[in-house]
Symmetry: C2
Subunit: 343 residues, 2 copies
């Protein structure tokens, strides 16, 4: 069952749950905001739904609530940071802000972050940069969850890629995982006894299928665009590990402390003000938005959109009417917020 | 009909054709090498096959054989260049080399090139950088050739993305266009009376189809990974235009002087030696290659590969046995090489 919760109540309750799990006031507040904002923007998979698991990781010691990122080395506009397995959201936010600061100086700023933990919703850092008028490209590697193209065993990570460009009337933000569908999407589709809109993997006999249960059984989830997503995710993995001097997917698989623990991330910012191209940028993004929105829709009832446009509308609707949450998970998090404080 | 031509004969004949079209000796030689190497590596769509069209563009004045890129502005490790509609290969090669030089100084080097022309095979610049021990990300925007997700009219470019990481035993090079299949692939498949291996677009009734003729008729070619490739190509387009202060796809569509004329490109290099991470890089890429190559193949007769691995094998085979070329196009280019020199 789904219900609606006012945004501020959602954020406050999650913050309270994180406080009770032993985080400091400030860290609990920021982490709660990123989880609540993911649900607010309709990215349920990395919002409220992930709060119990994050607290479990803290309890198991897989994420160190008190760890802070440390500078490993700096070369021109590039910084390598060690996240020391602190909370992934806080590490990624620090890295984004550092990339923005470096970009203000050099035109571009690049932070390569290693030894961090799950950043939850990657797109959040794109929105964060765009809200500050900056361009951001960011990606993470992860443990493996899908087979390379032509393989049956899972050896590739889902390595989401984020690209964001600011726009006065609504930012362009792409937040793209490398599998065609997530395992979460397979599960929710199966629970509805439905088929995926398009094929999402192979069954155990090697046939392409849109049946979520058959893909869950084979674990042969499909890379985005077949061989193309398979190749792209390999390069994103390698680049993140090389530039951060951190772990690649084949090594993260050995860590085996939950999703993304020990992963490597890249944050590449550009400062249009420093580059003198802010006015040109607005002309380009407005022209693109008009062009794409002016497409002839295949379904006359559905507008053709650029990345970030639907998110923005979901956000407005949730802020007005309350954020949609799963009843059971909401009760679970309310209980986590009310339990005895950690000693 | 296909035939085999020794590599050097292929390059020499193309160079002669370019000389006769009015290029200088040096420019003809470099341009010929890039076309010949594309065919040598099995990328037939952007090799010998494109020579007549490139000469046509020179003749029409859409490409200016004598134009050289000029520096527009520099900010730290970032240079903006105007390609002045010179030959796209030469502009892109210059931009790649400048990015490498900037990276030797700053750790990273970024060249944003505007007002250039078709770079032919984007992957060539990845191989070029990797041969010099450098990491490269590069992409171009283009005129539109496919509909945005949910649309029926073509408003998105195919905007290929290149990523290359050097490796002693064979570089990792990804060269990925944003449509699931090229129009060239649709044509060759149709001429064989075959179906595409996987759906490649929608027919005129809006049904997903693997029939190349039906997609050619509707012009509704599929973005890589459906909505995902649609989003990615929009962001690549905007970023190239913003950083180069050049044209985006919606503006290139107004130029209407053949494929890619007036386009914007990004060349982002990293120097592992300058960053002190060359040894770590070799460990990562070798570990990744072992992991991916060690996958369980779905078809026991086909090895699971990383991007660039098959290209490398095609190259060796063509160098040993001659490059596979289309008879008719080969004769056409031989004739272009033998015609009267341009006054």
């Amino acid at each position: 069952m789904m219900t609606r919760v006012p945004y501020q109540q959602l954020e406050d309750t999650i913050a309270q749950a994180f406080l009770r799990a032993g985080m400091t006031e400030e860290k609990a507040r920021i982490s709660a905001r990123f989880h609540a904002e993911a649900s607010r923007d309709g990215v349920y998979s990395h919002g409220l739904n992930r709060v119990p698991r994050f607290i479990e990781y803290l309890t198991l010691g897989w994420v160190d609530a008190d760890a802070e990122p440390v500078l490993v080395r700096q070369t021109g506009p590039i910084e390598v940071l060690d996240g020391q397995r602190g909370p992934g959201i806080l590490n990624a936010l620090y890295a984004t802000d550092r990339a923005i600061e470096l970009a203000a100086e050099h035109g571009t700023g690049i932070v390569a972050l290693r030894n961090t933990t799950h950043w939850m919703r990657g797109g959040a850092f794109g929105w964060h940069a765009a809200d500050r008028g900056k361009i951001l490209m960011a990606w993470t590697n992860t443990e493996s969850c899908m087979p390379a193209w032509g393989a049956t065993d899972t050896r590739l990570g889902n390595n989401p890629l984020v690209m964001a460009v600011p726009r006065a009337e609504g930012h362009l933000v792409l937040d793209m995982a490398m599998s065609q569908y997530s395992y979460g999407k397979l599960q929710t589709t199966r629970l509805k006894n439905a088929q995926l809109p398009y094929p999402g993997g192979f069954d155990n006999d090697g046939n392409l299928t849109a049946d979520p249960a058959a893909i869950e059984a084979s674990r042969r989830i499909l890379p985005t665009g077949f061989w193309k997503g398979s190749g792209l995710t390999i390069l994103l993995d390698v680049l993140a590990a090389v530039l951060s001097e951190g772990l690649a997917t084949h090594q993260i698989d050995q860590v085996d402390q939950g999703s993304c623990t020990g992963c490597s991330q890249i944050f590449l910012a550009f400062d249009p003000d420093r580059l003198g191209s802010a006015a040109h940028m607005q002309e380009i993004v407005d022209g693109m938005a008009r062009y794409v929105n002016g497409s002839t829709p295949a379904d006359p009832s559905r507008k053709v959109t650029y990345p970030g446009q639907n998110t923005y509308h979901t956000r407005q609707e949730h802020l007005a009417n309350g954020v949609i949450v799963d009843d059971g998970i909401w009760q679970e998090v309310e209980a986590l917020a009310e339990r005895e404080p950690k000693a």
